[in-house]
Subunit: 333 residues, 2 copies
């Protein structure tokens, strides 16, 4: 049996912590470090953040750039931010330390879309250092993009694709409930939306990945985001949504060839959303209609796919990779 | 744009012909030859076998070993037989000619299961020649194995898997209707079954692939095959099944860890089968339930996945590959 891969968890929010917890359960992986700049976390044994009694012996480090060369990870599990410019230095530090990177940063799914120069810089740095990096997750990264592309494998032609994801936000973590606007007024929702770091991140990247994966010559990507108002009162483990308040959002991602809509991603995430599911319809030869009944549970599944992508990425050639050009992720033991 | 890959179609039964027809439609592929030992096919322009008016200029060659070095394909699409010993020389000839091979031979999905020595021989020959080979298809290769493994990517643990495939054989090609025994008496079915080359081929290989992909320590693989009798008369485009005659078959593939069933593949293929579908249930954390509504249509889809696997295999390192260790197949344009 090969020796376990040395893993560092960089970013210890809910997803990062869940991923770290998983790594501790995998015999093919060894957690050798944890990094988070939050002064409430740095300096503590990771066990405290995981609500584990027995100490892990891993003290959370505040300074990634300083810690990484010393920790010598094979792979960094990176879960700090959605936005590529915000994580550029973190990623470069991991690359310089000779580590592959699996990141939950949504913009890294298709980084050339919004940040072509930064994507080229990361690709070149990774090739020079002989490492590879990958952005993935459940959404973006799997439910509304990767699965549709994999399904196309059994088709002779694809003319258009529609993916529908319905998430009952009541079942998700507090940051996600906040991110979809649960409990806001309609005016507050619009205000926050205008601010940027709000709502589902990565929709355009999903459209771009689907278009590339299916060879659809999409020349325009758009998205719309609108609030969904609660038809009745809802109580989640974390917050209360009154009738008429925002329960969450509806987000459409649209990819056009000329005037024709060929990629339509339809995401509903709100407290109380009925019939949660992931559904993919390929207007194809033969046509395909695929459904995850009950949907893919977001938080647990997101931590899982990050960890489950580690071995595939470690086997990939150096450079900036996408989920379409590494071997498919699968349960890591 | 890179120049198209040079393809030779080796084996021109219904699947091989459908794959050749597809290759002719793909701008990233160029069909440069066709091989079939059948004297009714050899010597004719491929167009005649494809019911195309315009000649392709490709004359079907009877002798693969002689033709391949001259045709210099990048990739051979191999669709001659299900059984590895029967295709050993064909595969070695393609390897010697420097071609990658995508094959529909069911036993090549997990060749180490029934033919470990032959698998090692092919792997060594391919590495020496700097080429790679892959067995794939819809079943085995996708519906009851690969998709289940890919779905595991969003889970933290998998305890067991159940895949259910229901195919209405009335919608399939004549060789498949014959292969499942449609129109036979029960006694004839049992007789043919004892003969070997009958029924669905590759069930054990699917179980083995799932077990490997999910890291389940399966120590025993079994299968059962039983006839399904027609409850009423059925007419297909090709044959007639009377009430009480065999309509097709039910085939269970079973993978055990000790006495515990952890992989259960349940395949029904018979004329008139109700609710055709592909369904995957992972007893996992979180649990997953996935369904292709109406199922994945076998024949068209099988030709498609062979062609759609070409580019991924061409990018893979030399040797004997499995669908789990090449980049995922996707629509080829």
């Amino acid at each position: 049996m090969p020796s376990p891969l040395r893993i560092v968890s960089f970013g210890l929010g809910p997803i990062g912590l869940a991923a770290a917890r998983l790594v501790l359960q995998k015999s093919s992986l060894q957690l050798v470090g944890a990094i988070d700049a939050d002064p409430g976390k740095a300096g503590r044994d990771l066990a405290e953040l995981l609500d584990r009694e027995a100490p892990t012996g891993l003290v959370v480090e505040a300074d990634g750039t300083g810690a990484l060369p010393r920790l010598r990870p094979d792979v960094v599990l990176h879960c700090t931010s959605s936005f590529l410019p915000a994580v550029r230095e973190q990623l470069l530090a991991a690359i310089q330390a000779g580590a592959d990177i699996v990141s939950s940063a949504e913009e890294l799914l298709a980084p050339e879309l919004q940040h072509p120069l930064l994507a080229a810089e990361l690709d070149e740095a990774a090739r020079k250092a002989g490492v590879s990096l990958l952005g993935t997750g459940v959404n973006p990264g799997f439910a509304m993009d990767f699965v549709a592309v994999v399904a196309s494998a059994v088709t002779a032609d694809v003319r258009a694709v529609k993916c529908t994801r319905v998430v009952d936000a009541a079942t998700r973590r507090l940051p996600l409930q906040k991110k979809v606007g649960a409990g806001l007024t309609k005016a507050e929702f619009q205000q926050q939306l205008a601010g940027g770091a709000f709502g589902h991140i990565g929709m355009r990247e999903s459209v771009a990945l689907v278009a590339r994966g299916l060879g659809l010559p999409v020349d325009r990507i758009e998205q719309t985001v609108e609030p969904v108002l609660a038809a009745e009162d809802h109580k989640t483990p974390f917050l209360f949504v009154k009738e008429g308040q925002v329960a969450g959002l509806r987000n459409h991602g649209l990819g056009f060839v000329g005037k024709q809509l060929v990629v339509h991603l339809d995401l509903s995430m709100y407290v109380g959303a009925p019939d949660p599911r992931d559904e993919i319809q390929l207007d194809a030869s033969p046509p395909l209609h695929l459904k995850f009944l009950g949907g893919i549970p977001g938080d647990e599944a997101t931590a899982a796919i990050l960890v489950n992508s580690v071995h595939g990425l470690a086997a990939a050639p150096p450079g900036l990779r996408s989920v379409l050009d590494v071997i498919p992720p699968r349960l890591c033991r």
